[in-house]
Point group: C2
Chain length 271, copies 2
């Protein structure tokens, strides 16, 4: 048995989740490994469900926790969040923990993930969303949001998403299945939520930039389907900035027996 | 005519709104005065609607903007937010501006103010609420919230609120009229909202601490009325920490002709 952790972090201060050679900025993985090692009392290894870019946030990231020597983690799962959080900085928290079979891989056993991209379109910038949304100087009307939501429908289904992958990415299998894609107003923000069996590098941020171009009248809504079909990155919109992106939810092939089974993660979908 | 500003700020980094002698930490007033002076191009004076404590936040603080030499501010009101925001740090923003008669005083012409106190009671701490709520390790049940809401009813009306004033305060007129006082769950938080014609020093934070004691079963709900009647600070609960407190709204004796009349401030009641 190993331990699966559910994690939330404000990505602003980190060079993404994954430890990288030659990057001087801290990563979430390094910070979490040190905290877990202190809490467990022996060297630990953390493996994440995905990389996230520098500045990207997470409300339901998953990662496995194992000891380097392969012995079981001595802390009961329901006490792991508080024990590890005690050694973490305020911008990272373990929300929950679960014992899972050794065969579950935090990355390769993922069935689906949900990301949310947040646009803030208030008439002036808002200190409470600083670093937490992409700010649009010109507000989106209800019609704009409705058109973006219709356009997002073109993402749904199994497609080659090459047009929505950062250039230079080495991935060759560029087919992914998008389960849902919606755009809706939530208070002073407009949120694009997308779930899929997997995502290419920068895929959600390019989707968000493309839908924004639709909302701003720079692209007709029917263009999105054409762009998907083009498999050409140059046809799609900008890569929206990382500060608006949240990894909200990760689902595995088997149900995860979360210890706290917290209503928290359900409730805290909104900031 | 002078200009009234509507301001939002994250109070974490500031020693409250008002400039104070002998305090080395920056205040919102100083920061805003410098930014307005740069935007307007001549020395400006900022007068706030109230002091707020170190670490307290605001979503609808009001302050007047005047030039030191008494000449009119040359920027049209609808352009003031963007002009001043350009010179402000990310944790302060001007949301709106309005021309108002010189007889309107940002503090003494106030008809009422609304504060919100936010408790976060998720099973683990949440990076997205760090410095933005009082964290409770033990979640409040729906019954607890209901009992707190009933207890808050005892604040409504005209009372001597001496029991809810920080000891050492020099105020002698301790009678205030509370218009509304409610407690409700909002996602992973529990919010206490209170509006009144005025507030004593630390009044909302002591009210919040007292309602929390009721929710946690340390005080019976009917005790709140008795505490109000006692006029004794020692009878009330703790002074809840400043990070959970937000000045949400200020109303004046006359309607304010806000230039942007932003739906923003209505919409962004929630984080």
């Amino acid at each position: 048995m190993k331990i699966l952790l559910k994690i939330a972090y404000l990505g602003t201060a980190y060079a993404g989740f994954q430890a990288q050679r030659g990057v001087s900025c801290r990563t979430v993985q390094e910070t979490l490994t040190e905290a877990a090692t202190r809490a467990v009392g022996k060297p630990c290894r953390i493996t994440g469900c995905s990389r996230t870019d520098s500045g990207v946030h997470a409300k339901g990231f998953c990662a496995s926790l194992e000891t380097e020597d392969g012995t079981p983690v001595s802390i009961p799962p329901e006490k792991i969040p508080v024990s590890v959080n005690h050694h973490l900085p305020p911008d990272i928290a373990v929300l929950d923990a679960a014992p899972v079979p050794d065969t579950l891989h935090p990355r390769y056993s993922v069935k689906g993930k949900e990301y949310v991209y947040v646009f803030l379109d208030s008439p002036t910038r808002d200190p409470f969303y600083e670093g937490r949304a992409m700010y649009l100087k010109k507000p989106l009307t209800d019609d704009d949001v409705q058109i973006m939501n219709c356009a997002a429908g073109a993402f749904i289904g199994t497609h080659d998403f090459s047009a929505f992958m950062a250039q230079g990415s080495k991935i060759t299998d560029t087919v992914r299945t998008v389960f849902s894609a919606t755009v809706r107003r939530v208070g002073s923000t407009v949120e694009f939520a997308v779930s899929a069996d997997g995502f290419l590098y920068n895929m959600v941020r390019i989707m968000a930039g493309t839908l924004l171009a639709v909302g701003q009248g720079k692209l007709p809504p029917e263009a999105v389907e054409t762009i998907v079909g083009s498999r050409n990155r140059a046809e799609a919109g900008i890569t929206a900035p990382p500060c608006g992106l949240y990894l909200n939810r990760v689902d595995y092939n088997e149900p995860i027996p979360w210890a706290l089974c917290s209503p928290h993660t359900e409730r805290s979908e909104r900031l």
